[in-house]
């Protein structure tokens, strides 16, 4: 009996496979409309396995991807980072930029059937997240008052205008948490944390640790007729080679962020069953750079740092080390985010210019052809960064700078960089959609804090830049902010506090049968209520 059943299943699988192979052909026939129909199961890789699924308590990347289907925020963001309605159907900002009023959707329900109201929003932003979420705390502590005007209206009153305030309502920045479950409890120790309750299109069903997380369709979802998928499995596959094979064999239908190693990307790109996109990371918009300790000689000399920018071929790095992923960076603000200024000093790849700058700065060639010696602490984040270290060493040698490579483990790297015990290193940080959230922290002198990683570890200090960033954060007039940020970027690019390398891109591979996976700037962390599967 069970044998026959298994055989039947195998036949089914074979049929499904055949259908999958035929699907792309069918889709190319013009005039064939595809309806967004119900049904289908999606298998998505999650790596590494999240420690917990309660998004208010943990915002690591994998947690965001899984919990983004369970929890929701008031807003989401289009590819150009303009706010779009989610749990808030509309919002208003007062002319002085201090009062934000949100109208909530009226039919949203928690997974346990209780209605979602303004009181949940007030509870989440003024109590829960203030205690558990560092990024949210930084934003909502700028609020003088957070109040529910009625069951479906919330008003935030700020002490002073804060430019990127709306960005703070993205799902991972401020996930809405249920007041009726958490109020008056120890948030982190609440037994309900094992069975997360949100308002999202998918409900938590089962978590087989080390293997998969199973989410099922929320039949009571507040958007009529959605979601389309029956369920989603998040598969835990710790080994990178196995993940690539899972994509090749079609056992998973989606991978994201760093799931696929850069060197596997060109191969998987050519597969007939998946499509690759690099969109959907605009909200995070990571930027990589060579971290420069500006306290140490010869790195304290601006001309030396400018020479580095000329000596390094960012296009080569993108094409040969990142296998085509990313864009050569021109300055501190990622070009897919707001307020990017492209009219700044250009550093084209030109070793001759680099040498001229070094000559000018007084670094003459010694008898062995060396002008200066520096150390480079290679970031221990895998092969790709090691290759980058080797490349930088050679590129700098070409202009007469001798670079000694140093290796360490992840803890050692954080320890040495945050305690300023390095000459050069690598780093990349997320920009969270706005310079006030993800850019200024690297360059302002207030943030020179020994022992704190991802702060101004370079020790770069320029009062003018401090002033510009401070002013730009305290206004919500976009035009004014643009001017201030442009001015700041021009100074920074001239000063080269870090040597920017790439605006990094992550590849998302999605099975061609699944549509609408990446539709916003938060891409794979979206709720997936409009993702559907094309059968046949």
């Amino acid at each position: 009996m069970s044998n026959r059943l298994r055989h039947f299943r195998q036949t089914l699988t074979a049929a499904a496979l055949a259908a999958a192979l035929a699907a792309p052909l069918a889709l190319t026939v013009p005039g064939v409309a595809v309806a967004q129909e119900r049904g289908g199961t999606m298998n998505i890789i999650v790596q590494p396995e999240p420690p917990i699924l309660v998004l208010g308590l943990n915002q690591q990347g994998p947690t965001q991807t899984v919990a983004g289907k369970i929890y929701q925020g008031l807003l989401t963001f289009g590819f150009d980072l303009t706010p779009q309605p989610e749990l808030a159907e509309s919002w208003e900002v007062s002319p002085d930029g201090k009062v934000y009023t949100f109208k909530l959707v009226k039919n949203a329900k928690w997974h346990d059937g209780k209605p979602f109201t303004a009181h949940d929003v007030v509870f989440s932003t003024s109590k829960f997240l203030m205690e558990t979420h560092p990024r949210a705390r930084a934003t909502f502590s700028k609020c003088e008052k957070i109040e529910a005007l009625d069951d479906y209206t919330v008003r935030f009153t700020l002490k002073e205008p804060f430019g990127p305030f709306l960005q703070a309502f993205e799902v991972s920045s401020a996930p809405m948490m249920p007041k009726h479950i958490y109020e008056g409890t120890d948030f982190k120790a609440n037994p309900a944390n094992a069975t997360p309750i949100g308002t999202g299109p998918f409900k938590f069903k089962e978590w087989n640790k080390g293997s998969y997380i199973h989410l099922v369709r929320n039949d009571e979802y507040w958007k009529a007729g959605k979601p389309y998928l029956d369920d989603i499995y998040f598969r835990v596959i710790p080994d990178a080679a196995s993940r690539a094979v899972a994509v090749e064999q079609g056992t998973v239908q989606q991978t994201q962020f760093n799931d696929i190693e850069t060197f596997d990307v060109p191969r998987l790109k050519g597969l007939p069953n998946v499509e690759m996109t690099t969109k959907g990371y605009e909200f995070f918009a990571p930027l990589s750079w060579i971290e420069i300790n500006t306290r140490n000689k010869p790195l304290d000399d601006k001309r030396f740092r400018q020479a580095m920018m000329h000596a390094i071929d960012r296009k080569f790095i993108r094409d040969k080390i990142w296998f085509g992923l990313g864009r050569p960076a021109t300055g501190p603000v990622n070009s897919v985010t707001r307020f990017h200024e492209s009219n700044v000093r250009k550093y084209d790849f030109d070793p001759k210019k680099a040498e001229a700058l070094l000559e000018e700065a007084g670094y003459k060639k010694g008898s062995d052809g060396t002008r200066a010696k520096v150390r480079l602490l290679v970031m221990p984040y895998g092969e790709t960064w090691t290759r980058l270290g080797e490349y930088v060493k050679q590129a700098m040698k070409r202009v007469g700078v001798d670079v000694t490579l140093e290796t360490t483990d992840a803890a050692g790297w954080v320890n040495r960089v945050s305690n300023w015990d390095y000459d050069l290193s690598f780093n990349f940080v997320y920009q969270y959609g706005d310079p006030a959230l993800g850019v200024s922290r690297t360059y302002i002198s207030d943030n020179i804090r020994k022992g704190v990683m991802f702060s101004n570890t370079m020790g770069y200090s320029n009062p003018e830049v401090d002033q510009l960033f401070a002013q730009a954060a305290q206004t919500n007039k976009d035009e004014e902010r643009r001017q201030l940020y442009s001015a700041a970027q021009k100074i920074l690019v001239e000063d080269v506090p870090v040597a920017w390398l790439l605006e990094m891109e992550f590849p998302t591979f999605v099975d061609k049968r699944f549509k609408n996976a990446v539709t916003t700037a938060i891409g794979v962390n979206e709720s997936y209520d409009s993702v559907y599967m094309v059968k046949k």
Binding site: E261, F263, P266, R267, K320, I321, V378, E383, T386, R387, G389, E390, Y391, K393, Q394, K397, T404, L405, E406, T407, T408, D409
Partner: protein, 290 residues
């Protein structure tokens, strides 16, 4: 102080005769000479640094600017192999030398004095023998951060115990021989007896196992570099294989040629070691063959 120094003690041309009788050993020696020459003339053959990106990346073998192809960053594989030979041989020889020093010293003391000293030294040796070699080497290199010195020392530290045991056995058996007793009665000091009387007579097995140990050391170094624990500023074969393994499906040559280099060198060393064994321990060798 190698074979040539001992040869006169044995029968004239006997050493070379015995060595040459083993065809494999001669081939091994020829190949080893070739590798040593390649290492010695690496700077002449490839004057640029092996890290220099001289060619287009991903060039297959027999390309115009890269005989054995180029790697992911456009570095010449052939240049890497030539310069890598230096690192491999250097690490192989120096770490073996250090291991021989430690091993023979401890073994000699242990075998000569016996009793308590022997117990103490042998328990200490066993301590090292119980820990898997490679794991200990990885831990040592990771702790002392990868550099040429830390790698040489780590390999030496995991390699000396077998030598200590071998030297101890030799010393123990020679200790009771007449010529040693004679030396004792003539009033020679212990140091002189160890150094002048016993050591020269126990050298042949030590030389044989040291020659094999060079091969093991090269393998250990390659494995460490493969895992990314090599000196990041030195080009080595293990590093080349390790760095290229990620693209092995697109570009086989990047890991194939350095892999072959490791294989042939280790094989050559083993063949030479066997030849030395035949030449220096004729009795043992004959027993082994029959």
């Amino acid at each position: 102080m190698t074979a040539a120094a001992i040869a006169p003690a044995r029968k004239g041309s006997g050493f070379w005769g015995a060595f040459a009788r083993n065809k494999g050993a001669v081939i091994g020696l020829a190949f080893l000479t070739l590798i040593v020459l390649m290492a010695a003339f690496a700077d002449v053959l490839y004057p640029d640094s092996p890290w220099d990106m001289t060619a287009m990346p991903f060039q297959p073998p027999l390309s115009e600017d890269a005989l054995l192809g180029s790697d992911t960053l456009g570095r010449d594989i052939a240049a890497g192999i030539a310069h890598g030979a230096r690192v491999s041989l250097l690490i192989g020889l120096t770490s073996t030398a250090v291991a021989v020093l430690i091993g023979v010293f401890l073994g000699a003391v242990s075998g000569f004095y016996g009793g308590r000293v022997d117990d103490l030294v042998m328990r200490f040796t066993e301590l090292f023998q119980t820990i898997p070699n490679f794991v200990l080497a990885v831990v040592l290199v990771a702790i002392f951060t990868p550099s040429l010195t830390s790698i040489v020392l780590a390999i030496a530290i995991v390699s000396w115990p077998p030598l200590a045991r071998l030297a101890r056995g030799e010393f123990m058996s020679l200790r009771s021989r007449e010529f040693v007793h004679a030396a004792v009665t003539t009033g020679q000091s212990n140091m002189t007896i160890i150094w002048r009387q016993i050591l020269p007579n126990s050298l042949s097995p030590i030389i044989v196992s040291a020659s094999l140990m060079v091969a093991t050391a090269i393998l250990l170094e390659s494995s460490l570099s493969f895992l990314g624990l090599g000196d990041p500023n030195l080009m080595s074969w293990g590093y080349m294989v390790g760095a290229a393994r990620t693209v092995i499906r697109q570009a086989w040559w990047m890991s194939f040629f350095p892999g072959i280099a490791i294989l042939l060198t280790v094989l050559a060393l083993n063949l030479v070691g066997e030849g030395l064994n035949d030449a220096l321990n004729p009795k043992l060798a004959r027993k082994g063959r029959s």
